[in-house]
């Protein structure tokens, strides 16, 4: 009898614990959850077909993930959300403009763009880093304003100086007055689809190969670590992976044998590989000495300096990496778009990337690759569905467009405010304890 009572008590405690865990999870992932729900509801009201939606989403994912990933390293280095990736995007665009001017098409054009953008991004990144070192504690607002400032310089260069003070002859690209670039530049003669069209696979085949690769990856990991006892968490994670990709594989096999619209979706494999390479690169960097220094500086600049790490240098390196990744990200973005809006393509890059990362559950001081990818999915879901949902619910497509702008700004504001508030509460607590 006594025993039973005890059992029951333990059970109660267990339940309490579980509900506590669930509560914590919900609170910690509130933003992500809200947007997941918004996305699903929006999708239902948009009246879009699932294959069309998936196709749109995949296009946007392959186009935008790169830029969001560029934000991770500065976050880990304690510099907050680097709105100055706009400068990286500008470096990419300068390279694209040059290559378009020289009319170097295809893969070579793309590679040349990437190579050309590196020295530019290096200089931009270095200068950004220098500035952010002078505005410690206010890095985000400084990087935001810097992005606006750089936009002015960019316009000055391409709108006023180019063709005038700096000679350039190109009737297609230069405005009829002979000074300044046109507002939009067609990239058909250069890098349009340069990466995307190298190799494409249909969605089911891509999914199937992805499943196979994942299983192989888990297998190799287990084989390499066979001697060591693995953490339970890792094992569980691997099991979940395998289970998920098995379902994915089964689904693809099923789709392949139907005439579903999904079969018409084509995945640009090279672009996907490029994104995966960036993910691997980021993971790799974090496992090196440099990565450890980055994290140390991010966690506590004072201790890092005291233990002999040159914090200022590390911070500049973090921004340079971020800027170069952003430059490449913008080049991949443009090869997909096929058209360069000379004065607009870079302007919102920072905002959209930051908003996506935050929706994925990242904060000013924590960000992972998973959060970046999840964020891109959720953010662009809202982007795709909101005009149509707006039209269907309120009878006005413009409402949906305004709504998504509101979402982007609102989520950044909300997330920053919650982070700052949390910090203030923590500071208050540590004062009391």
């Amino acid at each position: 009898m006594q025993n039973q009572k005890n059992d029951k008590k333990e059970l109660d405690i267990d339940l309490l614990e579980i509900s506590e865990v669930v509560k914590k999870f919900l609170v910690a992932n509130m933003v992500t959850m809200v947007f997941a729900i918004l996305g699903i509801v929006g999708f239902m009201f948009s009246g879009l077909s699932l294959p069309f939606f998936v196709s749109e989403l995949l296009i946007r994912m392959t186009r935008n993930s790169f830029l969001v990933l560029a934000l991770i390293i500065p976050v880990l280095a304690g510099m907050g959300l680097n709105f100055a990736i706009v400068l990286g995007a500008m470096a990419g665009q300068v390279a694209v403009i040059a290559v378009t001017h020289w009319e170097i098409p295809g893969v070579w054009g793309l590679l040349l763009c990437m190579a050309l953008s590196v020295p530019l991004a290096l200089v931009f990144g270095y200068l950004t880093g220098k500035l952010l070192n002078k505005t410690k504690g206010k890095e985000m607002i400084a990087s935001l304003i810097l992005a606006f400032f750089a936009n002015g310089i960019y316009q000055l260069f391409f709108l006023v100086l180019l063709g005038g003070v700096i000679p350039m002859q190109n009737e297609v690209m230069i405005l009829s007055g002979g000074v300044g670039l046109r507002v939009s530049i067609n990239l058909a003669t250069s890098i349009k689809d340069a990466a995307d069209h190298i190799w494409r696979l249909s969605l089911p085949w891509s999914a199937l190969s992805f499943s196979a690769l994942t299983v192989m990856y888990v297998g190799i990991r287990r084989y390499l670590n066979r001697a060591k006892k693995m953490e339970e968490r890792t094992i569980r994670k691997h099991l979940v992976y395998v289970a998920l990709v098995s379902i994915l594989a089964l689904w693809s096999l099923y789709i392949m044998n139907t005439d579903s619209m999904f079969n018409n979706i084509r995945i640009p494999i090279v672009t996907v590989i490029a994104i995966i390479v960036v993910c691997i690169f980021t993971t790799f960097i974090l496992k090196t000495k440099l990565g450890q220094d980055l994290k140390t500086v991010g966690q506590d600049r004072h201790i890092a300096t005291a233990s002999g790490i040159d914090a200022n240098r590390i911070r500049i390196i973090a921004i340079i990496i971020s800027t170069i990744l952003a430059a490449w990200g913008q080049i991949f973005f443009l090869q997909k778009m096929g058209i360069l809006l000379t004065y607009g393509a870079h302007a919102q890059v920072g905002l959209f990337a930051v908003a996506a990362l935050l929706i994925g559950g990242a904060s000013v001081s924590k960000a992972t690759i998973g959060q970046a990818i999840l964020g891109v999915v959720l953010f662009h879901t809202i982007f795709i569905v909101s005009p149509l949902a707006g039209k269907n619910i309120f009878g006005d497509a413009q409402l949906g467009e305004f709504f998504r702008a509101f979402v982007a700004y609102g989520v950044v504001g909300l997330s920053l405010a919650m982070h700052a508030w949390g910090k203030q509460i923590q500071a208050g607590n540590s004062l009391k304890s």
Binding site: F284, I285, K287, T288, K289, L290, Q292, D293, K295, T296, Q299, D300, I303, A304, A306, S307, G308, I309, S430, L431, K432, S433
Partner: protein, 536 residues
């Protein structure tokens, strides 16, 4: 040649900051496997000595130092802390240099990570070598084992008990391959008694492995327990060097404090007069980080100057801040028989308690504002004076403010260009006078003054102290003065309470003997006396 037996020798070390001598002819020798304690009050020169040893920039940017330092018989010239570390001199910090988000291993190996090459690093250099976590963990385990720590080397530091953190710091130091000398800077300050005992055991172990230890502390019993030799500093001078088995706590206490006390002219207070209690605190607890007060009962008599002394970090600063309600406080504060509202600076001020903060520039002044506003601003808010009322709105009364400011400038002899000068352009002594002037403008019954002479020159010091005495004698103002400088307290106060560990260690008269002061400052007074009771 005989020098070789010493790991570290510091010879004739002297240092002055802009002509102000802070260290004079200090000699110090430490053997391998020796624990050498350095004792002294705050400001005795301990930290300057360590700054010299570690080649801190404060030293080099102020003209370096005189004397020589030898490590294992070789003359060395250390330019930066980094260099000191490379030579094998390590430091266990008072505040932890640990990153909470990292594991024990990552903290022990901070910026000394073991790496292995990979194909990327072959091209881009060693910065991109991957961390060899296995090797790092192995080393850490070894260091932890040396200290008898059974904590897992992959535990995150966040959330582990404070006592363990100190050990992780030590593990980091002994993990350094060439470590020869380890400096412990007040390592027990934040530890509980049992944790401190563990630490002392660990120190013995490190000593046995042949590492020399410099132990900076003010806890006399700990020194007696572990140290082999003791160096005592006072006011930048070396007062004594003793073997620990040739001395005792009482002698050390006397050595630590002993100095001449210069009495500021003042007739003795009539001891017999029956005086009323004006302010009383009961079980006062103040959550002020670094200066926590852990339950104090104190009665302050009308018209006296009460001194509150004690070493830094013991909680003396917290008392005045608690009474003012600036930091979270609990207990009872009774002013003239009525309870004060807790945690309300406004109530304290309205009930005629004024406060001069210990942090003059940070808390006590509006640096970018004029002298006159600094003097009247609190009175303007609390007593609504110096303003003119126009039914719907108010305006400052420029004329009255100027009159009052000029009066104060004259009364306290504040040296300034005019009453509109910005505070940041005044000297430290004059700034302090402004703080006092603001407190006086409130016409308080009780004046709480914390560290009134910190960072001001000798001449100004005397004027400030004389002013306090005058206020007390001429205006009958009750003054509670908190200070780290015992001599100063002894020169102006009627009685002095010494705070140790957030509690009152004891109460003394200014002319009580040095040994008692020393024992109380070191927190040994009660222990020794209760021991004495048991014996008798």
């Amino acid at each position: 040649m005989e020098n070789l037996e010493y790991v570290l020798q510091m010879k004739n070390i002297s240092k002055d900051y802009y002509g102000n001598c802070v260290l004079k002819d200090i000699n110090l020798s430490v053997k391998a496997g020796e624990i050498h304690a350095i004792l002294g009050e705050n400001g005795a020169g301990k930290s300057t000595l360590m700054n010299i040893l570690f080649g801190m920039t404060v030293i080099h940017s102020t003209g370096g130092f005189d004397g020589e330092i030898m490590l294992e018989g070789k003359n060395i010239n250390i330019k930066s802390p980094q260099e000191a570390l490379e030579l094998g001199i390590g430091m266990v910090h008072q505040e932890f240099m640990l990153i909470p988000g990292y594991s024990v291993t990552e903290n022990v190996k901070l910026n000394r990570e073991i790496t292995k090459r990979n194909f990327v690093s072959r091209i881009f250099g060693e910065k991109l070598e991957t961390l060899d976590l296995k090797e790092m963990a192995k080393d850490t385990r070894k260091a932890l084992d040396t200290l008898d720590m059974d904590i897992d080397e992959w535990t995150r530091v966040e959330g582990i008990p404070v006592g363990y953190m100190q050990f992780i710091e030590i593990a980091r130091e002994i993990d350094k391959k060439n470590i020869k000398l380890l400096v412990f800077d007040e390592p027990t300050a934040v530890l509980t008694e049992s944790e401190a005992a563990n630490l002392l055991t660990a120190m013995q172990k490190i000593k046995e492995s042949g590492i020399a230890i410099l132990f900076i502390t003010h806890r006399l019993d700990e020194v007696m327990e572990v140290a082999d030799n003791i160096t005592m500093l006072r006011d930048g001078e070396l007062v004594a060097q003793k073997k620990s088995d040739e001395t005792n706590v009482i002698e050390l206490a006397e050595l630590m404090v002993g100095r001449k006390v210069e009495k500021i002219v003042r007739e003795k207070r009539d001891e017999k007069a029956n005086r009323k209690t004006i302010l009383e605190v009961k079980d006062l607890r103040v959550m002020m980080s670094g200066e926590e007060v852990k339950g104090i009962d104190l009665k302050i008599e009308e018209g006296e100057i009460l001194g509150i002394g004690g070493l830094a970090g013991q909680g003396k600063i917290g008392i005045a801040n608690g009474i003012m309600g600036i930091y979270p406080v609990s207990g009872d504060i009774i002013l003239k028989g009525e309870k004060l509202k807790l945690n309300s600076p406004k109530d304290s001020l309205e009930r005629k308690i004024a406060f001069v903060s210990e942090d003059r520039r940070g808390v006590g002044l509006l640096l970018d504002t004029s002298i006159e506003i600094n003097i009247v601003v609190t009175a303007m808010q609390i007593k609504k004076t110096f303003i003119r009322n126009f039914v719907l709105f108010t305006q400052i009364n420029q004329k009255r403010i100027k009159e009052h400011t000029l009066k104060m400038i004259k009364m306290l002899d504040i040296r300034c260009r005019n009453e509109k000068q910005l505070i940041k352009k005044l000297s430290g002594g004059n700034q302090q006078k402004i703080c006092i002037a603001r407190a006086l403008t409130l016409a308080p019954d009780v004046l709480l003054v914390s560290e009134p002479t910190r960072g001001i020159d000798v001449g100004a010091k005397k004027i400030v102290l004389e002013t306090l005495v005058r206020l007390n004698r001429d205006l009958g103002m009750t003054i509670v003065m908190t200070s780290s400088e015992l001599a100063e307290l002894r020169s102006v106060c009627d009685r002095i309470v010494i705070i140790s560990g957030g509690k009152i260690e004891g109460e003394l008269k200014p002319d009580s003997n040095d040994t008692d002061f020393g024992l109380m400052m070191a927190g040994e007074y009660k222990k020794i006396h209760s021991r004495g009771d048991e014996q008798s």
